[in-house]
């Protein structure tokens, strides 16, 4: 691994992908035991497991790149809120099953495209993680997409809930594609794509499903969220106070 591979931008890029998986995995896990049918308890747990597995690989890798001896758990549990780099979308509360599934669909579709591009990353470790994770993301997008269609084209109530979920979440997807200095550096080093490059492909993946679901795609507004820059919503802090509790309460303990 050459010197350029350990740039702060490279570390930030890997951390960002890891934090997405971590925070959304945490949200998914909240469903465990509370889903509408047992099969969905299983499916949501499964997706949570996939995401947490991805987070472990990515944060461990980020820690190695950083070279300060921080392992996956120190990165997952011992940062303060402004140092998480996940997309704001990932930290929003689950609310109902519609919002959960629409979010999973919007995010997993993005992940599919990202992992596809990362298969050929100049960071061979990241490429290996992508190879493992791409299958998972495809399954998540398929599973959530099926539900988006079922809910959107189901009953009057489920349609209304799916539409409300899409209306609520859509503005947060703008953040996926906001350009960042880190992205430019990373793209230049062939580590991974600038996320802004993925926008057209993402819309091509997402829009047909939303149309089949008979949902109306909201217009873009000027609203931008900034989670990937470390400026989050009010929701992340509450998630972290719960997630970090044991590590914070018993510093240095082994579990």
């Amino acid at each position: 691994m050459n010197q350029q591979m350990n740039s702060p931008e490279h570390i930030e890029y890997v951390t960002r992908i890891g934090d997405n998986a971590l925070i959304l995995g945490q949200r998914m896990s909240e469903w465990c035991g509370h889903a509408p049918v047992l099969e969905e308890d299983m499916a949501l747990a499964n997706m949570s497991l996939d995401l947490i597995g991805q987070a472990r690989m990515l944060l461990a890798h980020a820690g190695k790149l950083e070279g300060k001896g921080r392992d996956e758990d120190q990165l997952a549990f011992l940062r303060t809120e402004l140092n998480y780099r996940n997309l704001t979308l990932c930290e929003l509360p689950n609310q109902d099953f519609a919002r959960t599934m629409v979010r999973n669909f919007l995010f997993a579709s993005f992940q599919v495209l990202l992992w596809e591009r990362l298969l050929t990353s100049s960071d061979s470790e990241l490429a290996a993680i992508a190879a493992k994770s791409l299958k998972e993301a495809r399954y998540h997008a398929q599973h959530a997409g099926d539900w988006v269609i079922r809910l959107g084209d189901g009953t009057v109530e489920s349609h209304a809930r799916a539409q409300a979920a899409l209306d609520y979440l859509w503005p947060y997807t703008a953040e996926f594609f906001v350009t960042t200095p880190a992205d430019d550096a990373v793209a230049a080093a062939a580590i991974g794509p600038a996320w802004s490059e993925l926008e057209a492909a993402w819309e091509a993946l997402v829009l047909p499903v939303l149309v089949e679901a008979t949902l109306t795609v909201p217009a873009r507004t000027p609203f931008k969220s900034f989670g990937k820059f470390g400026r989050h919503s009010e929701h992340l802090g509450h998630l972290l106070s719960e997630m970090q509790y044991l590590q914070r309460t018993y510093p240095g303990a082994q579990w």
Binding site: C32, H34, I52, I149, D153, A253
Partner: protein
């Protein structure tokens, strides 16, 4: 009649009754009660452990815990499926759970108060469950026996993971060791009670033994569990909260103190807010999900109609 004789002969020979076979109505009823109670226990059992998923201390432990709770959901699924072979629907069974008509293992009414509870549940509660369940892998009803083979395999895995979690904590700080001991203090007696009333007070056992549904008695299983667990406790370095627990060389078994059956029956009979909270959580999940299930049905209906029209 001839059917009954054939059934008896098969059961006596240790063979399997299958869903399509003739069976006595009381056998069917007993099985439905037992299998569904077991399925409900798996589903309700997701809640106390689920309580710690969002607070698991490392990503590895979080993943292990999610996978475990997921497995319990899986056990629930194949147990409901086994019950369905007896001519009852999953929705009927769930309705009986939610209305309080059907029972589940009262062990899951106890709260999980610290992270050590997660390990102790794996070690003691799953340990006791396995003791109870291993004989069922050879029970006379085929679908149930096969479901139990899979359940037992996964439960053993969970038990080892729970024990491993506790070993790690016992190698840690004094605070962690105290946490483990406290959890053992709280879960030991409830685990012992999981084997049910003493044989002399047990209602269902005789007939069930005859049917090969219950091959070993409550007290024998309990003794086996105590003997096995005491050794594991020594390795771990924890003490069971029972001053009368000691090796009896004459019996070749451990003696242990008298069980507080008042407590047992209070918990079994739902005189506990744990029961209220667990059922409320299940009912809430079910009611909150009603519109989702309705949407899936309606979408399927529309799809079928569209395909019909296209054909």
């Amino acid at each position: 009649p001839a059917y009954q004789a054939e059934f008896d002969a098969k059961v006596d020979a240790g063979g399997y009754i299958e869903a399509k076979d003739w069976m006595p109505e009381s056998y069917r009823k007993t099985l439905i009660r037992q299998i569904s109670q077991h399925a409900h226990s798996e589903i309700v059992g997701m809640l106390p452990e689920g309580n710690w998923i969002t607070r698991a201390p490392t990503l590895k432990r979080k993943a292990i815990l999610i996978a475990k709770v997921q497995d319990e959901g899986g056990h629930g699924l194949y147990l409901y499926a086994a019950a369905e072979t007896l001519g009852v629907s999953r929705d009927e069974l769930i309705e009986a759970l939610h209305s309080g008509k059907a029972k589940y293992s009262s062990i899951f009414n106890y709260p999980t108060l610290t992270w050590a509870d997660i390990g102790v549940i794996g070690w003691l509660v799953d340990g006791a469950a396995i003791m109870n369940q291993i004989p069922l892998c050879k029970c006379s009803y085929g679908p149930y026996a096969r479901a139990m083979v899979r359940v037992c395999k996964e439960e053993s895995f969970h038990q080892r993971q729970g024990y491993d979690l506790l070993l790690t904590m016992m190698k840690g700080t004094q605070e962690q060791r105290d946490m483990v001991q406290d959890a053992v203090n709280r879960w030991w007696w409830p685990s012992i009670m999981m084997f049910g009333p003493h044989d002399k007070d047990s209602v269902h056992s005789t007939q069930s033994a005859r049917w090969g549904i219950k091959r070993i008695s409550n007290d024998d299983l309990r003794q086996k569990f105590v003997d096995a667990t005491v050794e594991q406790a020594k390795v771990l370095g924890v003490t069971m909260p029972d001053p009368e627990l000691k090796w009896n060389a004459e019996r070749g078994h451990h003696d242990f103190g008298a069980i507080d059956w008042d407590e047992f029956w209070n918990v079994v009979n739902g005189h506990g807010q744990g029961n209220v909270d667990r059922l409320a959580a299940r009912v809430k999940a079910w009611e909150d999900g009603a519109w989702v299930r309705a949407a899936a049905l309606e979408y399927a209906r529309k799809q079928a109609a569209r395909e019909h029209q296209a054909a």
